[in-house]
């Protein structure tokens, strides 16, 4: 009996030691699936792709409609301003800002000014998208959940956000090229630092113009335009900040894989169609197709281009002009032909194009924010139109620039500049919408059966999740800015 008990004690002891053995625990609990640190070049690609895609997606779903480039003939809620939550920009800006902050921190720590400069440009562009969509948003305390334990970032005023954006872009311009590291993982300019620098300054002009109703931006704009060596800006379409899609999955133009019905419920808007037809603008035939009924016949001479008025009710929209057969679809280059070589050169993700810059400069010159007056404004204006035609691979009809309505007319120049800019913004519905909110050019008629008492929306509502996850700060922002409604104006728009 005693022997048995002794044996047992030994056995229990051995097993106890075995059971309590924890010396391999840390090894077992080390994640074998993924690295715990990566270089900036591995983080940039996804940030850029996500942001370009979400900008394009939100333009397709909302921006192009509200700006009346396109209109819906089915599921017409968006077109009637029945907007629910629109979170894609918000979610993508903040989730990608997480990785962008890592790029910023890493490049700062290792003195990689090129990476840092690019990161600052992306940060500025992303925050501008978010603030222009929503108004006041978390900025100075954003993306500090891990580094500083800030679980509830306060919402900053749009005014202070724009101050930050412009400061960051200025810094990017200053530091880019001051260190020699080769930038990898750049799907926009493939590491071309000069082009990034041009983008930085071009964006500065865009954002200065955006806030130009709130403060005098003349000196800042002139400082950029007058010092091209220090502040280079885009000088042609080759400087365009574009994300080129590829012919094959998974890098195709995002709409390429849409269900056919989901693509076809978007049609040409009567507003843009009529303007293009009025100008005999060949871009029309790229943006839109002839009505299916006339496209079906082999004879192209009977082709008709018909847009739908924005904001009709479901039944009216579908039956407009006798039905979808008589309503122009969106151009094939933005759908089934997006993977053709022509489609690849046109259906792109756009951060900023040279044409837009020229229209900004035209407006600035016309308004006297930069030097040159009407003469210079006209040059910029015509450059912009030419650049847009060139982008689409079109040669301009000889009379295009001289016809009434297009020919530069000093008394109506701002409307002309704004209208051409609006056309050139095709498929960049968000930027077009931001710009329209500032200028109200061209004059748009609110959706026919709108649900907003005749007001064209001027912002998105905050994501509902903010109500529960950042309650107090959201309430403060709403109190400051005005009701959390799509008709409330953001700071630069007030």
């Amino acid at each position: 009996m005693k022997v048995v008990i002794k044996k047992l004690i030994v056995l229990v002891f051995v097993l106890t030691v075995f059971s309590a053995c924890t010396n391999r625990f840390e090894e077992i609990n080390t994640n074998p699936n993924a690295p715990i640190s990566v270089t900036s070049s591995l983080l940039l690609p996804q940030i850029i792709r996500d942001m370009v895609n979400s900008t394009l997606g939100e333009a397709w779903g909302i921006g192009n409609i509200v700006i009346q480039h396109t209109a819906k003939n089915q599921f017409v809620n968006e077109d009637r301003y029945l907007w629910g939550e629109l979170n894609s920009i918000w979610n993508n800006v903040y989730s990608n800002m997480q990785d962008l902050k890592i790029v910023l921190d890493q490049s700062e720590a290792s003195n990689q000014k090129n990476y840092k400069g690019i990161a600052l440009i992306l940060k500025s562009w992303m925050f501008s998208l978010a603030t222009d969509c929503y108004g006041d948003i978390p900025y100075s305390e954003a993306i500090r959940g891990k580094s500083d334990g800030i679980n509830f970032p306060k919402y900053d005023t749009q005014e202070s956000i724009y101050a930050g954006i412009l400061a960051d872009l200025a810094e990017a311009n200053t530091i880019l090229g001051t260190t020699g590291e080769i930038v990898a993982g750049d799907p926009i300019f493939n590491g071309d630092i000069t082009k990034w620098k041009k983008l930085a300054n071009s964006l500065r002009l865009r954002y200065l113009m955006r806030i130009s109703n709130k403060r005098n931006v003349a000196a800042d704009m002139a400082a950029i335009v007058n010092n091209p060596n220090t502040n280079p800006i885009m000088t042609g379409n080759s400087d365009n900040a574009n994300y080129n899609y590829l012919a094959n999955a998974p890098d195709q133009f995002p709409l390429f894989t849409t269900r056919i019905g989901s693509f076809n419920e978007f049609r040409a808007s009567k507003t843009l169609m009529d303007v293009l037809t009025g100008f005999n603008d060949p871009r029309r035939n790229i943006f839109f197709r002839p009505t299916p009924a006339t496209e079906l016949t082999p004879d192209p001479s009977d082709d008709q281009y018909v847009g739908i008025p924005n904001g009709l009710g479901d039944v009216e929209a579908l039956q407009f002009n006798g039905g979808p057969q008589n309503q122009s679809r969106i151009g094939a280059l933005f759908y089934e032909e997006a993977n053709t070589s022509r489609g690849l050169s046109i259906a792109k993700g756009v951060i900023m194009n040279y044409a837009e810059l020229q229209f900004i400069l035209a407006e600035a010159a016309k308004k006297g924010l930069i030097a040159g007056g009407d003469a210079q404004a006209r040059t910029y204006y015509e450059n912009g139109i030419n650049a847009s035609f060139a982008y689409y691979g079109l040669s301009m009809p000889p009379t295009y620039l001289t016809q009434a309505g297009v020919a530069y007319n000093p008394t109506n120049a701002l409307v002309q500049i704004g209208t051409q800019k609006w056309i050139a913004f095709f498929f960049q519905g968000l930027e077009a919408w931001f710009d329209w909110r500032r200028t109200n050019i061209p004059a748009l008629t609110p959706a026919a059966t709108n649900q907003t008492n005749g007001i064209i929306p001027t912002r998105f509502i905050y994501p509902l999740s903010e109500q529960s996850l950042n309650t107090q700060n959201r309430i403060e922002a709403v109190t400051r800015q005005g009701a959390d409604a799509i008709t409330t104006k953001v700071w630069w728009n007030k």
């Binding site: 047992l8 924890t22 077992i28 990566v38 959940g145 039944v315």
Partner: protein, 1080 residues
């Protein structure tokens, strides 16, 4: 000398047979002895016995634990048969408790309930877990209608964890835990499929009993994972079988749809009363529209997709409309098809019903068992072949089971239990709202004139393999094409079992060493054919999932009477658990050659993802039970775990438990009315760890960007200071038997408080992250369980009627979350399931109707007159106004549940039926939301009594409620909307979902069994014995006020089952059939 004396004394032999009174089955193992002597025997497998009678034999006694003993005077008889009646008074019942240790039920300080073999076999479920529904108080089973063998969610005594996936009990087979994992399957283009939960694969034929250990006290010894209760499964063995016996059991059941939505049959496809098919793509009149707001059915001629054409084709043989599949020349295609010859426009009231077929399940089990003094064995083979109600869905399961024991020496016994399951399915149906799910079409978008039979031939003429034939080419997939071409296959091989050695040191001390495993290899392949809406060039995906769980443990047990009155049972044990998970997911997003489903046939770069994880827990535990005079039992247990998932310094955690059981009826004299009374009380703690790799952030590989490798940091902020979770439960109960057991009452009150839960608390994504891992929360669950057993009629050897009630009510409360955090989103789909401080677990939040109020003068819609309070407020366009914030729209948990089983038996005939009643709780119906938009369901006739012209009577809808005037007063809403606009506006485009939330109460006739056991004498010389034939039915009837759907539903998001939210679910099914069992 003695021998010869006996010989002389025994001049007579008594023979006979013992059967179970309730069922007429043969009763093996019954002890038969002569009263006042030690002469006795036990009955064999066929219930017979023979006993040499001593001279002084007067009375023979038949006895078996849990049955009333029968004494019969021998007189001159040489044959005495007996029928034993179950003794509900008796508590000498033995239950299997933690670690497979058997205990007398009366010594237990906590509640358990057991289901026996026959209840699982006769009216069987492909997913074993569903068999628990209604039979166990405090257990909620949500059978998810997701096709054959779909997952079931079982919750015991309420949800304790804020992690919605962490609320199911631990399943233990023969003392060793097994996996009840549910590997999610979402992502990559709406491919959501339910591949079943781990416990659902267990073969009912191999189960002897299933015991539910409900509280923490019962399960402290199983460690962390037993926090949510334990389901202890004991498999069959050969023990107790004399010689070798075989059993055969066959079941054949038919299955059909229990409930389909009620569709309207007045208007067909189209919009504004218009429809004409040309190309199903917008080319005709509203033929791109998939809603049923089209022309009324008057038999008028209209061109349709299945109308013949002048060229002898069908209207839908329109050719290729997708340039990705090939060139599109619409004019030429239309010319080739020819002009469509209109056909009558009529409703197809049964078009959805006709799609479903009668499901068929055939199960065959053969088992061979035997034992002798040296050992025992049982081998069993079960074949399950099932065809689902959805065409081309099936399940095929082969289960091999072996259990054996051998006495290696007088002191050393070895035992092995091995189960092998091979489970294959050629196709499991797709789920959830999206084109891949047939119900997306059927409940929302299938024009009411569409004859599904016309879609059976699902390729376009001349374009077989390339273009499907359909009624609409804009958005949808042909449902036959969907189920026959776009399959989700599964092949699972799984082995679980254990080996153990027990060494008996002395008669009171033994040591068991055991090692068990459960591992499975699963292969899933998903095929998508050319012209699938989401995959125009097809796709192919292979997933491989390997899971292994190894448990090695030892247990040293002592069992000794310390004195005449005090008994001691004590044990010390240890366990090491290792879990390994490996998965890979490889995807060919487009196919080079149609119809060839191979990764090598990818047209573009293959996408791949993989994940591995490993976890270890080491544990030591001890327990002791002191018994005093067989009426007072005190039980202690304690356990310490070391988990690899927690940070150093926190990875060791300890938790104790204690409980007390007092058999009052043995302690004091009670009134005669009370034949038995026991009180019990227990308290227990359970600690818990977390998943692997929660301590450090990593960077996840993303889809490459134009060939550039891409990474992103995980969006969860890890926590290096995690602590183990801790949950404390208390329970107390009484067990009283009255009138000699004719009335049995078992009542339990419990209370569980779970703290320090390890959860990813959601963050505003403006922090850069979506969640932070923290220890948080205090969740309290309180509830009662009442089991009432009545035997209104019991006549000796004749009729017996019993009624068993299982009642339970659970209330959970979220007491605390974390500092500054008031709510926690546990899951979301359409609505969000949120834990909010002060709220209950299972509360669902969403946007509601803004209503008139008279409480806050500064708030919106204030009506000082009080006249309109509570009314829905409409805007001036006639649409309901949404609330600014999400509001509580109800809780998905029932208020209470009641299962009522009636059992009637008369000799060999046994009839029973079970009603499963769930009262209260809410369910959201996406079928209702979108079925309205699509003009599909009966409700959509409101507002179009006379077509679509709003000037005609009966057309248009004015919402019930008020409009606020400019001066702030209210008037009744007076704005009329068209029917379509109304039925879409009521949810504001799927945003305001309050109106689609229903009281989920239901009553189900869950189970009906009518069985007859043939008396063995009928068999004559045939070798068959105990032939039992039963007619069985499950889920035969449903009573509920929820329109269109079975409220017992859930939606599946990845591996998460979200109760209370219906997402165009497959219809639930009723099954009926018969079962035949016999022995030879």
């Amino acid at each position: 000398m003695l021998f010869s004396m006996d010989m002389q004394a025994q001049d007579k032999t008594l023979r006979g047979k013992v059967t179970i009174a309730a069922t007429g089955e043969d009763f093996p193992g019954v002890s038969v002895f002569i009263k006042g002597t030690t002469v006795g025997t036990v009955t064999g497998t066929d219930g017979t016995y023979s006993l040499k009678l001593p001279n002084n034999a007067n009375t023979v006694v038949f006895s078996f634990v849990g049955y009333r003993s029968v004494e019969v005077a021998i007189g001159g008889q040489s044959t005495i048969d007996a029928q034993l009646v179950e003794d509900i008074q008796s508590l000498n019942e033995v239950v299997v408790t933690a670690l497979g240790v058997k205990k007398e039920k009366k010594a237990l300080g906590y509640a358990t309930q057991t289901i026996q073999s026959n209840d699982l076999i006769q009216a069987r479920e492909t997913n074993l877990v569903n068999s628990l529904a209604g039979k166990i108080a405090g257990v909620t089973v949500v059978g998810n209608p997701t096709g054959i063998g779909g997952s079931a969610r079982v919750i015991i005594r309420g949800e304790r964890s804020l992690n919605i996936n962490n609320n199911q009990p631990l399943f233990v087979v023969d003392g060793v835990p097994i996996s009840n994992n549910n590997y999610g399957s979402s992502g990559r283009g709406n491919q959501e499929v339910d591949y079943g939960n781990g416990a659902g694969f267990i073969n009912p034929d191999d189960i002897e009993s299933m015991t539910v250990l409900k509280g923490g006290a019962a399960s402290a010894l199983y460690g962390s994972r037993a926090n949510n209760g334990v389901i202890v499964i004991k498999t069959k063995s050969g023990r107790g079988t004399k010689g070798i016996g075989a059993t055969v059991n066959s079941t054949l059941t038919f299955e059909n749809v229990l409930r389909l939505p009620e569709y309207q049959n007045v208007y067909g496809q189209g919009l504004g009363g218009v429809f004409e098919f040309r190309d199903g793509n917008g080319g005709g009149r509203a033929d791109g529209v998939d809603e049923s707001w089209g022309p009324a059915f008057n038999g008028q001629p209209i061109r349709q997709f299945d109308s013949p054409t002048a060229n002898g084709l069908r209207g839908g043989d329109v050719g290729n409309l997708n340039t990705r599949i090939g060139p599109v020349n619409l004019a030429a295609q239309l010319a080739a098809r020819g002009e469509i010859l209109p056909t009558p426009w009529v409703a197809r009231p049964d078009n959805v019903k006709n799609f479903f077929q009668t499901g068929l399940t055939f199960t065959q089990n053969v088992a061979l068992a035997g034992s002798n003094d040296n050992g025992d064995f049982r081998v069993s083979y079960t074949y399950l072949d099932q065809k689902g109600i959805v065409p081309n869905t099936d399940l095929n399961r082969n289960t091999f089971a072996f259990a054996g024991g051998y006495n290696l020496s007088k002191r050393l016994k070895a035992r092995a239990v091995i189960n092998y399951i091979k489970n294959t399915s050629g196709n499991r149906p797709n789920l959830s709202y999206g084109t891949e799910n047939i119900m997306y079409l059927f409940n929302c978008w299938l024009g009411r004139q569409v004859d599904v039979q016309a879609m059976k031939d699902y390729w376009q003429f001349g374009r077989e393999g390339l273009n499907q034939f359909n009624f609409n080419y804009n958005y949808h997939d042909n449902p036959y094409f969907n189920v026959f071409e776009n399959t989700n296959g599964q092949s699972l091989d799984r082995v679980y079992g254990n080996l153990s050695l027990t060494y008996q040191f002395t008669d009171w001390l033994n040591l068991m060493v055991r090692s068990g495993t459960d591992f499975s290899n699963e292969f899933r392949d998903r095929r998508r054919a050319y012209s699938t809406q989401r995959f125009p060039l097809g796709s192919y995906r292979e997933e491989k999932i390997f899971y292994e769980e190894r448990n090695t443990d030892f247990l040293l047990s002592a069992n000794k009477n310390l004195s005449e009155t005090i008994s001691l049972t004590a044990s010390v044990g240890g366990n090491t658990l290792t879990q390994v998970f490996n998965s890979s997911d490889v995807f060919a997003p487009e196919l080079a050659v149609p119809g060839v489903y191979s990764l090598g046939n990818s047209r573009v770069a293959i996408q791949a993802a993989a994940f591995r994880s490993k976890k270890r827990i080491n544990s030591l535990y001890a327990s002791a039970q002191l018994g005093y005079k067989n009426f007072l039992y005190l039980d202690f247990s304690a356990r310490n775990d070391w988990s690899s998932t927690l940070p150093k310094g926190e990875w060791s955690y300890f938790y104790p438990a204690a409980n007390l059981s007092a058999v009052i009826s043995d302690m004091v004299e009670l009134p005669k009315l009370i034949s038995f009374a026991k009180a019990r009380v227990g308290i227990a703690q359970v600690g818990n760890d977390t998943q692997p790799y929660q301590l450090q952030a990593v960077y996840n590989a993303e889809t490459p960007v134009k060939g550039l490798p891409a990474y992103g940091e995980s969006s969860v902020i890890p926590n290096l200071n995690l602590k183990p979770e801790l949950s404390t439960s208390f329970e107390a109960g009484i067990d009283v038997r009255l009138l000699e057991g004719r009335i049995g009452i078992d009542f339990t009150y419990y209370n569980t408080r779970s703290r320090n839960q390890i959860i990813g608390i959601p963050l505003s994504n403006t922090t850069g992250y979506t969640s932070r891992i923290i220890n948080a929360g205090l969740i309290e669950n309180r509830g009662i369980e009442l089991m009432l057993n009545l035997v209104p009629v019991q006549l000796e050897n004749s009729i017996r009627w019993s009624i068993d009630f299982n009642f339970s009510r659970n209330r959970s409360e979220v007491k605390e979350l974390a500092d500054g955090i008031q709510n926690f989103v546990m899951a979301s789909r359409y609505l969000s399931v949120e834990a909010r401080v002060g709220g209950r677990m299972g509360d669902m939040y969403g946007i509601g109707f803004a209503r008139v109020q008279n409480t806050d003068p500064n708030g919106k819609y204030y009506d000082p007159t009080g006249q309109f309070v509570g009314q829905v407020v409409y805007n001036t366009a006639g649409k309901p106004i949404p609330t600014d914030q999400v509001i509580n729209l109800g809780n998905y948990n029932p208020d209470w549940m009641l299962g009522i089983t009636n059992t009637l038996s008369y000799r060999g005939i046994n009839f029973s039926f079970l009603f499963d009643i769930r009262q209260g709780g809410k369910v959201y119906s996406h079928t209702q939301t979108v079925g309205r938009e699509g003009g599909m369901i009966i409700e959509t006739l409101e507002g179009r009594a006379n077509g679509y012209d709003l000037s005609l009577p009966g057309n248009g809808v004015i919402g019930q409620g008020v409009v606020q005037n400019a001066d702030g007063t209210f008037r009744p809403n007076d704005f009329k909307l068209s029917a379509r606009e109304w039925h879409t506006s009521i949810t504001l485009g799927r945003r305001l979902l309050e109106g689609m939330v229903y009281d989920a109460s239901f009553v189900k006739l869950r189970e009906v069994k009518l069985g007859y056991t043939l008396p063995n004498k009928f068999m004559g010389r045939l070798p068959f014995r105990d032939v039992n034939i039963s007619f069985v039915g499950r889920n035969l009837f449903l009573w509920t006020n929820v329109p269109h759907i079975d409220p017992e539903t859930a939606s599946t998001v990845g591996g998460t089952i979200i109760p209370g939210i219906e997402s165009v679910a497959l219809p639930s099914t009723r099954s009926y059939g018969f079962n035949l069992g016999f022995k030879f």
